[in-house]
């Protein structure tokens, strides 16, 4: 009987419920969409922050202090120590391997360019543009400056892997009037090497004054086969919180375990250091620390806006629930006149409202997930991950708000004297 009354009441007057349902569905959709985006946005933005470049820098542990001005090392090749290129595949075998988005080794060799007009001292920077490297127990991993330094721009073409080719820094090329396609001669130590210029590179950094060439070539010129000097690693990290800032050396084993298993920049750096023998891995604080601050602010902003969305949704649902109860005054009066007890009446209306809330909430959640996907694709080019965990949350909110919004008018209504209402007074 109870179920039949509710069912009939819903089926009988679908039109009256249309506006109410539209409000309910849109409100839950907006709540679900903003929550989905808010939960997802941290990860997506952290990914976007990788275009700021490496956040972990690896150098040899036993190194002398580099005499680096404006990014160019002025030490001779004989000074300092080196790291082994062959170990790099191990980086994709560490605990946080999936968070390692890319890495690029660098080896700088002082070189002299000799042109008919002038002799210029410069630096040859050996690196990878796009290199496939073998990974223990896994498929090859393709990385290089293409993924770690996406702002490097080449007019012409990049050099190819092991060839005697190079790209020339824009400022150096302007100074010496070097064009792509030309062949230049460089002197390193006592040897002269002819290199074909494939393009002009513009990085906004010290490379604008240098030559960028394949790593293998730089190793050969430096007489350090299979070696590199610095490694730039870009890793997806979690901004450091109070726990992440603690000194891992003073942690209890349980705390250390938790720290090790959190993708803090420092814990990933320590794993990188452990994977590469003789290395010292440091967190590039300019990128990592600043990223944490910006992300913190943007997240706070986003959660507050989500709060605004929740407030707007709550309000719309509550107002709608209250209005839809008031609308049915005469029905309540009729049922009361027929002898229905007030308690049962209140129950009956409440259950009906809740049924509408759950149905509308579920529809709204579906719509909201679609909205969030669209929003993710629009902003980040990747649809947001659906968050099924939000379904119960959204339904609870919808049901709770509907119940809260209905209760007050319901209480007043079931207490009404049916006679004046039925007479239309």
């Amino acid at each position: 009987m109870f179920a039949r009354i509710i069912f009939e009441s819903m089926a009988r007057n679908p039109r009256r419920k249309m506006l109410a349902s539209a409000v309910l569905i849109l409100a839950t959709a907006v709540a679900a969409a903003t929550l989905t985006v808010a939960l997802d946005e941290g990860n997506r933005l952290a990914h976007e922050f990788r275009s700021f470049g490496a956040n972990i820098l690896v150098t040899p542990q036993a190194d002398t202090v580099p005499l680096e001005i404006g990014g160019l090392d002025t030490r001779p090749v004989s000074a300092g120590s080196y790291l082994r290129e062959a170990d790099l595949g191990k980086l994709k075998a560490i605990f946080w391997r999936n968070n390692i988005e890319g890495f690029t080794p660098f080896l700088q060799v002082p070189a002299t360019i000799e042109t008919p007009q002038a002799t210029v001292e410069t630096t040859l920077v050996g690196t990878w543009y796009r290199q496939a490297i073998p990974v223990p127990d896994g498929p090859e991993f393709v990385t290089g400056v293409e993924s770690t330094n996406p702002w490097w721009e080449v007019t012409g073409a990049w050099f190819s892997g092991g060839a005697k080719e190079c790209v020339v820094g824009r400022m150096l090329a302007d100074r010496l009037d070097i064009k792509p396609g030309q062949t230049i001669t460089i002197r390193t130590g006592a040897t002269n090497t002819a290199l074909r210029v494939t393009g002009i590179i513009s990085t906004g950094g010290s490379e604008d004054q240098a030559l960028v060439a394949p790593l293998a070539l730089a190793q050969q010129l430096a007489g350090q086969p299979g070696m590199y000097r610095t490694l730039m690693v870009t890793a997806l990290t979690k901004p450091e919180d109070a726990f992440g800032r603690e000194n891992p050396k003073q942690m209890t084993p349980v705390e250390y375990e938790r720290w090790y298993c959190s993708p803090y920049p420092a814990s990933i750096a320590s794993q990188v250091q452990a994977a590469l023998p003789g290395s010292s891995a440091k967190v590039v604080r300019r990128v990592a620390e600043s990223e944490g601050r910006v992300l913190g602010r943007v997240s706070a902003l986003f959660w507050l806006i989500t709060l605004g969305a929740m407030a707007a949704a709550t309000l719309a649902i509550a107002a709608m629930a209250a209005a839809s109860v008031v609308e049915r005054r005469s029905e309540v009066a009729l049922m009361k006149a027929l002898g229905a007890p007030s308690g049962l009446l209140a129950w009956f209306f409440l259950v009906e409202q809740l049924a509408v809330a759950v149905a509308g909430g579920a529809l709204g959640f579906g719509l909201g997930t679609l909205l969030a996907r669209g929003l993710g694709r629009l902003v980040f080019g990747v649809p947001s991950t659906p968050q099924p965990i939000l379904l119960p949350v959204v339904l609870t909110i919808a049901a709770g708000v509907v119940a809260a919004g209905s209760l007050l008018p319901l209480r007043r209504m079931v207490r009404l004297d049916p006679a004046p209402v039925l007479r239309g007074e």
Binding site: V283, R286, G308, M320, S324, G424
Partner: protein, 377 residues
């Protein structure tokens, strides 16, 4: 007569009007707060991104980067601009000198700079000790400090071509970048040490603004300093602009959604109000009230609601927007007056659209309503 009925009506259905008013007020408050924030978000994001420090470099035009020098007048020009142009949020001159540390018989780079200015531009440095306050104090990069076993408070001597100068290490800084290999001193001590009075190697600037605005600042600087190269640090200009754009889009899309939801909420509660009025309308029509007048009466009611709701909502919205901005960016937000007409238009539009079904009033027969028969909106 009109106003008397109007007044009576408002009093008679206080509770229901209060509910509708609550919806309009809160809707207007949320919308005005978010729109106010959204209009100012560019500035907020641009300032926030300046925690990344310098994004523009001014270097001498001639010669290789490591050896070329600029006269200090170039820096004076930059400093003057930094004072007058509020887009330049920070600037610092640098003179790099490769000096010897006799105690460790090793070389190190001494970076002479304006330490007070550097402090504002390097929020990511971790400082152990304190910031230097006197000319003979220096900041030592973590790697140099470790290699030369310098701790905060220790004195050390640097040597350049036989000329020696003593510094006290006020603090050790960890940056995870080239700064870890440098010793930071005041500009004058570094110039004296190297015998390069009135010379600097480069200047770093932190410029806030959109890509176009940054380019404009750079163009102005280029024009003023013909002998210098003014170039962006692309990872902190291009990448930043792209990221800011994404955040802005995300916030904009969410705010639009909330706007639509609020409008629908107001519309729905006005429609509910209109449904309830049908009885009054029936009576008025039965006793001979002309339809346009009855509609005007109701529109006046809806209009009064929307007006009161918008005024109170905007008044509440500004502090709300300030609070959000304070929490998220640590600074308040200016009142953007465009918000007021926008919110007013939205609220009035929604309220009137909600009252739209009243047009049907002209067509209905009072008897049907008064008998309480099927008349729904």
């Amino acid at each position: 007569m009109f106003w008397r009925i109007f007044g009576r009506e408002l009093r008679a259905s206080r509770a229901r009007l209060a509910l509708a008013l609550l919806v309009v007020v809160s809707g207007a408050a949320v919308v005005s707060a978010l729109v106010n924030l959204q209009l100012d978000i560019d500035g907020k994001l641009e300032r926030t991104f300046r925690v990344f420090g310098a994004n523009v470099l001014v270097t001498p035009k001639n010669g290789a980067a490591s050896q070329a020098l600029m006269p200090v007048s170039a820096w004076d020009e930059i400093a003057a601009r930094a004072r007058s142009d509020n887009r330049i949020v920070g600037a610092a001159p640098y003179l790099y000198v490769v000096a010897r540390i006799p105690a460790a018989s090793a070389d190190a780079i001494v970076a002479g700079t304006d330490l007070n200015r550097v402090r504002e531009m390097s929020s990511w440095w971790k400082l152990d000790g304190r910031w230097p306050s006197a000319a003979a104090e220096a900041l030592v990069g973590a790697d140099v400090a470790r290699k030369l076993s310098i701790t905060p408070g220790r004195r050390f001597t640097v040597d350049y071509g036989g000329k020696q100068q003593a510094f006290t290490a006020a603090g050790i800084i960890t940056a995870g970048g080239p700064e870890d290999n440098q010793i930071f001193t005041g500009l004058a001590p570094a110039q004296q040490l190297a015998g390069l009075d009135g010379r600097i190697s480069l200047a770093q600037l932190s410029v806030a603004g959109s890509a176009t605005q940054i380019r404009q600042v750079m163009n102005n600087l280029s024009a003023a300093l013909p002998d210098a190269n003014v170039r962006p640090i692309p990872e902190f200009t291009t990448a930043e602009a792209q990221l800011a754009e994404k955040i802005r889009m995300l916030v904009g899309a969410t705010v639009t959604l909330i706007l639509a939801l609020t409008v629908l909420g107001v519309l729905a509660s006005m429609a509910a109000l209109a449904t309830e009025r049908r009885h009054d309308v029936g009576v008025m029509k039965a006793i001979g009230g002309p339809t346009p007048r009855i509609i005007r009466l109701f529109l006046a009611e809806v209009g009064a609601l929307a007006l009161a709701g918008t005024i109170v909502g905007c008044l509440l919205g500004y502090p709300l927007s300030s609070w959000i901005s304070e929490r998220a960016f640590g600074s308040g937000v200016a009142m953007q007056w465009e918000v007021v007409p926008l919110v007013t238009a939205l609220m009035f539009g929604a309220a009137l659209a909600g009252a739209l079904p009243l047009r049907l009033l002209g067509r209905i027969r009072p008897a049907v309503i008064l008998r309480g028969e099927g008349w729904s909106l």
